[in-house]
């Protein structure tokens, strides 16, 4: 008997918890600031309504449909939707992707816990420059001199254990309970920090222009010329795609624990809205206005370009070290990111657990133990080879490229192969809200076209240069190749298990 969510609120919180991650607070503000400010919100909302929300509904519908047959993951659900021998292997991406993301995401998540402790002890507050903060981060990662790596590894072990302890307790007793507590808490922490930011005024009287009002202007003043650039539209579409956790396979698994008569339209929309609240209203109020108030326009521009890691682990602790009660706000900041991280990382484990227990009839506890052993071994590669670019390469393939590929495949299979009429009916079973009719052609033509365009752009603009290793230092090349071979071996292993599961359920392969 498969588990079910305790309440509809439970699955909404779990899906929102999966979607609300580090990107809401670190990636969104830097993307908006670099791509037209307020004008970025035009392609952002267009992408939300024609790409993000429809894809959210598609994943919820696919998951609930599969759950009726006892499938909790994409491989055998895709096989139900598309009677073709290749379907289940496309679905294997939905098991491979989350596991591959987990093996580096959990390590980054553990840094947040470590930085939380360093904020309490005052170790972070004593660092006064960007170079010192960057040096601290590198020592924490085990790069360069210093023995902070021991602590880094201990926090990794603790975070790893916490993740598996939650998943071990099941969907209702573990994931749902965690999200019901973590999500409101992280929102409270973010509101407290945002309120402090908005009341900060001009922190340095020597620079009267460096204030929060101008900082908000830096983020929100529209630059309409940016809208003429295809890059800005693709950046917005990419941001929506990543922020909603679509294309991973997690929502499919979560929705598989629903019953046929349960609403998915209103629930999917509510989870998306909560994610947008955390991203635009909370995430948009903290990082960039603060960076502007402390470093001015040029500094904020540099911060926006420096990437999510630098914002989270260099810029923000540096700003807090300059603020009154900075240590307390730093603790809140890293705790809120940790809660956002853990609600996402436990969701990354669930598809693999569901696959082993649903399709190979392994008990949940044994499945969790097996995945803990395998993923613990795999985690060592990004941890010990971080300076060789291993983590970045896994992030690109598993955390970016395969996400878009999987999103495109699931959309095409559900809408074009399973058929829009059946898909539309499937979405509306038990719906507490009718999807407006104009969404039918949007879901049929616009969403898949949008996805294919993003995939094509990514393939030519990023996948080919990344595959060729443009800009990778020569000494790192063997490590990157080894990473790719490793990822391929994991995928082949999962595909072999998918084949075994198929034969177990349906006999010989067609």
């Amino acid at each position: 008997m498969r588990e079910k969510w305790t309440s509809k609120l439970g699955i909404i919180m779990a899906v929102a918890g999966s979607a609300i991650g580090l990107g809401n607070f670190l990636r969104f503000p830097s993307q908006a600031a670099q791509n037209g400010g307020g004008a970025f919100m035009i392609p952002y909302f267009v992408s939300l309504f024609v790409l993000g929300i429809p894809l959210m509904w598609i994943e919820w519908a696919i998951g609930r449909y599969g759950g009726l047959f006892g499938h909790g993951t994409a491989p055998l659900i895709f096989n139900r939707l598309w009677r073709h021998r290749a379907a289940k292997y496309f679905g294997a991406i939905g098991v491979f992707g989350p596991l591959a993301i987990f093996i580096y995401y959990v390590y980054i998540e553990s840094w947040l816990l470590g930085y939380c402790l360093y904020s309490v002890t005052g170790a972070l507050g004593s660092l006064a420059t960007k170079e010192e903060m960057l040096g601290f981060l590198r020592r924490y990662q085990g790069i360069g001199r210093g023995n902070l790596f021991v602590w880094s590894y201990l926090f990794f072990l603790l975070t790893f254990f916490l993740n598996f302890a939650v998943v071990y307790r099941g969907v209702r007793g573990g994931i749902e309970k965690l999200c019901n507590v973590a999500l409101p808490l992280l929102c409270i922490f973010a509101v407290v920090i945002a309120a402090r930011v908005l009341t900060l005024g001009t922190p340095d009287p020597a620079h009267p222009d460096w204030n929060i009002r101008n900082g908000l202007g830096f983020l929100w003043n529209p630059d309409f010329s940016a809208l003429r650039s295809a890059k800005v539209w693709l950046a917005a579409a990419g941001q929506i795609f990543f922020t909603l956790s679509v294309g991973i396979g997690v929502i499919i698994t979560y929705a598989s624990y629903l019953s046929k008569g349960d609403d998915i339209v209103l629930s999917g929309l509510t989870a998306s809205s909560l994610n947008e609240f955390a991203e635009v209203i909370l995430g948009g109020t903290i990082v960039i206005p603060l960076a502007f108030a402390f470093f001015g326009g040029a500094g904020a521009q540099e911060v926006a370009r420096s990437g999510s890691f630098n914002i989270g682990f260099v810029t923000m602790p540096l700003i807090f070290s300059k603020m009154a009660w900075g240590a307390a706000f730093a603790v809140l900041w890293f705790l809120l990111l940790f809660l956002a991280g853990i609600t996402s990382s436990v969701s990354l484990l669930e598809p693999t657990v569901a696959f082993l227990s649903d399709e190979l009839s392994i008990s949940r506890k044994k499945a969790v133990a097996a995945i803990a052993c395998v993923s613990f071994a795999l985690c060592q590669f990004p941890i010990f080879l971080i300076s060789r670019g291993v983590m970045d390469d896994i992030d690109f393939w598993a955390g970016s490229f395969f996400l878009v590929l999987f999103g495109t495949v699931e959309c095409v299979i559900f809408v074009w192969i399973f058929g829009i009429e059946k898909a539309w009916d499937e979405m509306h079973h038990g719906a507490e809200l009718r999807i407006p009719r104009f969404y039918k052609p949007v879901i049929r033509y616009v969403t898949p076209t949008f996805l294919i365009l993003i995939l094509g752009f990514w393939f030519f603009q990023q996948a080919i240069p990344t595959f060729r290793m443009d800009g990778v230092p020569r000494e790192n090349v063997p490590y990157i190749w080894a990473t790719r071979v490793g990822l391929l071996i994991i995928f082949i292993g999962i595909a072999a298990l998918v084949r075994k599961a198929y034969r177990k359920k349906f006999g010989r392969e067609r």
Partner: protein, 35 residues
């Protein structure tokens, strides 16, 4: 912050808060039932 900045910020916040309020209102209208 320019007037354009305020408008874009207010519109973005408005759309999102409106969406959240709409979802909560609909959920209250048809209360969440236990599964």
């Amino acid at each position: 912050m320019t007037a354009g900045g305020w408008v874009f910020m207010a519109l973005s916040w408005g759309i999102i808060l409106g969406l959240v309020a709409f979802c909560v209102r609909r959920a209250m209208k048809e209360p969440y039932k236990d599964l």
